[in-house]
Symmetry: C2
Subunit: 383 residues, 2 copies
């Protein structure tokens, strides 16, 4: 007992802190992996959500094959942790090619992406000058929300040609239907998932019909991965936020509140009794400024307040935030004496609007098991 | 020349990166310090904006006396850097008293704050149990925007009594008129500055009339510090974001665009020609999700795009952001071929909505002098 009293618990951790409910996280990982396996595709999680090696190792242990990253720093960090199959899913520019080359030369099976013939030619020229055959995937735009080449665009073949002529390896085509974040019905989600699949498969077909070898067809976002009925022609799926889920995903309809594995531990530090406010030590620095639920069906303010053991406090809203102050108040129609209900020192947990953004505000996670043990898990940030 | 070519420049830094224009920063520091000196008050900068020792040292070198912090981690870090006069300006709770005690015992002249008789009694009990006389300031609410006791409230005297009876030292009263962020005319700013001053001085007068010694009267925010006509009765002013300024401050009317000292260096990574988009490698992770200008007179999207040498690109808007992608487009009425104007590889600098939030997304600053030299300045984050 002497040693166990030295361990941190949710009651002794300094606040604010980013908390991972490990039971929920593992259930989220298993749910996604089982779905992908049943649909017959490889799963390559996007680790920008956690930027944490223990989280990523849990995803790989469950069956994930390779990872997706959003920065070359993530690639370096996860390669240093022993992961070699890494897709850097942001358009490559010339200034970043030396970093990509260094990773390849160290043995990292880094895959890079492009969506223009000019960039493809730059990659090829740099690769040839340095004796490196980069594995390049072509980014496809299946929903108009960001970057990529439309499946029907003539530039698709020009990019493949620039890569082939330059001696690079075409890894495949990939797409991300980010517009899946803008809908919230099963039918709409299924439709976007099918649009994402069909568009990317069509791009691959065009390349193959033109004589190019296009082994990979990679699609994904958390909402579409959890909504696709068929993944015919797809070889791998990418998704990130599913590992924790968040309130945006809840509003979209792909998780329950009690499946959200990330929360921010906070302490009540004061009140304004006449206004019905409790003030907590989680401001926007701890929650992030992400207000992703603002335009959705239900606006959760800066997060959903829960008790220390994770029960949702339906009557309390997280209405505003300063840098290190959060303001909680009663929702309309609820009348409780908030100062008596949540006295100074009360510990609460807040479910985040957007797990990727909230996690990024914290230097580490505090991961807890059902038995109450809390272990610090590292995460990194920056570029 | 051989050595100078090894130095980073704005043209060689990896992007995205947080850039400090040192000439602008120093001018901002001097402007504020000269104003405070002319008004006859001490100036205690809020270092939550930068969380960077070199920035803070420049403020102290210009004449600042002590610092204000928003977390005990900031207190520990700046105390380790040799700064001893530190005000922790977030309401103290019992769980954080051991950390405050440790700092005091190491020689830090840490000041803590409270806004309730219960919390004051907790501080006093803990202080007496540990043989420590905490210097405690009472937080005053002069504009109803957050925490603090109203100047006329009976609890003001109860708090002072709890501190005195418990053997603690009353350092003074302090307030922060955060509602100054909600106005944008000189008259309104002057009025809020006077309300902030008068309310805090009145609270001090009530304490003194009741027989308490109340040496300090501390007020401040960047807009009120730059707008106050009189600071009669005030002993010190606190302000933070003035050191960098940002687009929110520009909309409020207290800085020009060319006074904003913080920007995010970014690279164009692609285009969607049919939409008139350029895509850059600064997404919300680099800019933060802070959309503080959204409700102001001019909405700057995710930031104001500038050329590499800091000239504002009036016709280009930063319209949306994903985690590592930013989307730039032409503002209404401007018709340029954005792909020709900003080809892949173009470096840009983006002025932030909110310097405190944007800085927090970066592990360090890149500080540059007029001669083009860039030096990495550390910053820290987390709690």
């Amino acid at each position: 007992m002497a040693t166990s009293t030295m361990l941190a618990t949710l009651s002794t951790l300094e606040t604010p802190a980013a908390i991972i409910d490990l039971r929920r996280m593992q259930r989220n990982i298993d749910r996604m992996q089982q779905r992908m396996s049943a649909l017959g595709v490889r799963f390559r999680p996007h680790v920008k959500t956690s930027k944490s090696t223990p989280v990523t190792q849990a995803q790989l242990a469950a069956g994930a094959q390779g990872i997706t990253v959003s920065t070359l720093k993530e690639a370096r960090q996860f390669f240093a942790a022993g992961i070699t199959d890494i897709l850097y899913a942001v358009g490559m520019v010339p200034d970043k090619l030396p970093q990509a080359l260094a990773l390849r030369q160290q043995g990292c099976r880094l895959k890079i992406i492009t969506d223009s013939a000019d960039s493809a030619a730059s990659i090829a020229a740099f690769g040839r000058a340095n004796g490196e055959v980069f594995e390049v995937w072509i980014e496809i735009d299946t929903d108009g929300h960001r970057s990529g080449i439309k499946p029907e665009d003539a530039e698709l073949l020009e990019v493949a040609h620039a890569l082939q002529a330059g001696g690079m390896a075409l890894g495949g085509v990939l797409t991300h239907a980010g517009s899946s974040y803008d809908v919230d019905t099963p039918d709409a989600l299924t439709a976007i998932a099918e649009q994402e699949r069909a568009g990317c498969v069509h791009a691959a077909s065009r390349l193959r019909a033109a004589g190019f070898v296009c082994p990979g067809v990679s699609v994904g976002s958390t909402p579409t991965a959890l909504s696709a009925r068929s993944l015919d022609g797809v070889t791998e799926v990418r998704a990130g936020v599913y590992v924790f889920f968040d309130l945006v995903m809840h509003n979209i309809g792909v998780c329950r509140l009690d499946e959200i594995a990330l929360s921010v531990l906070t302490t009540v530090i004061g009140h304004q009794r006449d206004k019905g406010w409790a003030i907590v030590d989680a401001g926007w620095m701890a929650m992030s400024r992400d207000r992703g639920t603002q335009k959705q069906t239900r606006d959760f303010g800066y997060g959903q307040v829960c008790t220390l053991d994770g029960q949702v406090l339906e009557g309390i809203a997280f209405t505003s935030a300063n840098q290190e102050h959060g303001i909680l108040s009663c929702v309309a129609g609820v009348s409780v004496d908030i100062a008596s209900h949540l006295p100074v020192g009360t510990r609460l947990r807040v479910l985040p609007n957007h797990a990727c953004a909230t996690g990024a505000q914290h230097g580490c996670y505090q991961a807890f098991e059902d038995d109450g043990r809390v272990v610090e898990w590292p995460r990194f940030y920056g570029w």
